[in-house]
């Protein structure tokens, strides 16, 4: 199927909105779960959008902007996964892989903006010194506008402009290649989880990882709620222990401080 001009513009508008949402981290409609669903709706295939949303959301699970870093772009990944699956007839799992270059393209554009927007800081300092709130507000919102428009343009080009060559490319793919992309889509979440673990996993949390893993392996249920409930219970138990520990530590510190003070007092 082809994407019509109207559909292309519609998706482009949504890219603008969700792009700004990602920039501000507002309503999290920038996550693939929502982006895919809405894109699917706009292309007239809601079900495809929802399924692609589930898959792509997981593939991007740990890829977050924490600490001011910039991950592969979730908005473009979400849009292009649905668009590719829709236009080429490939499964969403395969499409995730094919959408990745677009996602990385947008990642680098945002990285460029992070550097570029430093130019405004000088001017904003001046406005602040003058307490000129009007001008300050206008200028401080400028980057958001620039980002939004960029999303709209890039999305339109990718979705509407590039569809012919892309379809050709994809159709020319041999079976093992598209199978390879599909498989990659299934393994991809591992990267996100690896990133998550990089910032969370200290030695002392390894047992909980193992418990969660084992529980999910052997509790047959359609979602992860049981694992989350077990995790919440364990977290709560640990919380109680940690509270108790901090009380003891406080008392110990108090005693030692008193002892030291006492010692000093004697000395003086």
């Amino acid at each position: 199927m082809t994407v019509t001009l109207g559909e292309g513009l519609l998706v482009s508008l949504f890219a603008l909105i969700s792009g700004i949402d990602f920039w501000l981290e507002g309503f999290y409609i920038f996550r693939p779960m929502i982006v895919c669903t809405v894109t699917g709706l706009m292309l007239g295939d809601l079900r495809l959008g929802i399924i692609a949303g589930g898959l792509t959301e997981l593939a991007f699970a740990g890829l977050t902007p924490v600490g001011g870093t910039q991950p592969p772009n979730p908005v473009m990944a979400g849009i292009m996964t649905v668009v590719i699956a829709h236009t080429t007839g490939h499964s969403p799992a395969t499409a995730i892989g094919l959408a990745l270059p677009f996602s990385i393209l947008m990642q680098y554009i945002i990285l460029f903006y992070y550097s570029a927007f430093s130019v405004f800081t000088k001017k904003l300092d001046d406005y602040a010194k003058e307490a000129n709130t009007k001008k300050f507000a206008r200028l401080a919102l400028m980057p958001t506008v620039v980002v939004g428009v960029t999303y709209a343009i890039i999305a339109f080009l990718c979705v509407y402009g590039a569809q012919a060559p892309m379809r050709e490319l994809v159709n020319a793919m041999p079976g093992w290649l598209s199978h390879g992309f599909q498989i990659a889509g299934g393994i991809l979440p591992a990267v996100g989880f690896g990133v998550l673990l990089k910032s969370m996993l200290k030695m002392q949390y390894v047992p909980y990882l193992l418990i969660g893993f084992t529980a999910a392996c052997f509790i047959k249920f359609g979602n992860l709620m049981p694992v989350a409930v077990i995790g919440a219970a364990l977290a709560f138990i640990e919380y109680s222990h940690a509270r108790r520990n901090s009380v003891v530590d406080k008392k110990l510190k108090e005693i030692q401080d008193n002892a030291n003070n006492g010692g000093e007092d004697d000395g003086i």
Binding site: G53, K129, G180, L196, S246
Partner: protein, 272 residues
């Protein structure tokens, strides 16, 4: 430690509405994100109306406050309204510039840590993991619940700002103390869920079958890996990536590419 400078001009009073507005405006926090000062421009944009009300006629005070807020800051976006509310109460009470700035600088780091642990590392994986299981079956429940959760979290900015405002200076001690405990508990929950996510959502199945006799083959997946432990390959591969990320400092994008290359190669070889 309290304001004892009698030269400070009397400052304006903030209403509940002002704090609500502050909470909503905290959305501007990243409006001008850049590598030089990170969120400071957007942060100041969010604070401006509140500062204006507090300083009223005192333009010099407002200019000083705005300039001070333009210093480097980078914190979690759901913790930002808490800090904003807290600082609003200090501004209103006429604390000295240096006191206010010192607290802002001292607190944004811990708040980033605890906030990220809760929002990015715990809530997102749980919500994503659970709703994805619905979405993968084509059920609209998935995106719907996801959306509702995050709309609720957006509006939570308002009570969070009020919390910061009403807690005032008393909160500082408590934030410093409890941030470690709450982060610890959040990590326990987060790691448990990630363990579950690895088992549920990373999919690696070896297709290779070894022929042992005429018409008789052994499946590497079902007769070897699956007998050792279910999902042992997903766990192993995730740990390999973790190792590369942590010890070798490999970039995630490189690992994504590596995953693709491996997947395509092994697909071509008929292994996966």
């Amino acid at each position: 430690m309290a304001s004892n400078s009698t030269v400070t001009p009397k400052r304006g009073k903030l209403s509940g509405k002002d704090i609500t507005k502050l909470g909503v405006r905290s959305i501007y926090n990243q409006s001008a994100m850049n590598y030089e000062r990170m969120q400071s421009d957007g942060w100041t944009l969010a604070m401006t109306p509140m500062l204006k009300k507090v300083y009223g006629e005192d333009t010099d005070g407002l200019a000083a406050a705005m300039s001070a807020n333009l210093q480097f800051i980078n914190t979690n976006n759901y913790a930002a309204p808490l800090l904003m509310g807290l600082l609003a109460s200090l501004e209103e009470n006429g604390e000295q510039r240096s006191t206010i700035d010192g607290l802002r600088i001292a607190l944004f780091g811990p708040l980033a840590g605890i906030g990220d642990a809760i929002t990015w590392f715990t809530i997102l994986p749980i919500v994503a993991g659970i709703t994805a299981s619905f979405a993968k079956q084509g059920s609209i429940l998935g995106p719907l619940v996801f959306f509702l959760v995050y709309v609720a979290l957006f509006f939570a900015r308002i009570p969070i700002a009020h919390l910061g405002y009403s807690a005032g200076t008393k909160a500082i001690e408590s934030i410093r103390e409890n941030s470690a405990i709450v982060s610890h508990a959040a990590s326990v929950l987060g790691c448990t869920v990630i363990g579950g996510l690895i088992a549920s959502y990373v999919q690696i199945k070896v297709l290779t079958k070894i022929p042992v006799a005429a018409g008789h083959t052994i499946s590497i997946q079902t007769q070897f890996f699956d007998r050792i432990f279910p999902n042992i390959l997903p766990l192993g591969y995730t740990f390999l990536l973790y190792y590369l990320l942590k010890k070798k400092n490999t970039s995630p994008v490189l690992l994504i590419l590596l995953t693709f290359v491996l997947a395509i190669l092994l697909s071509w070889m008929g292994v996966l």
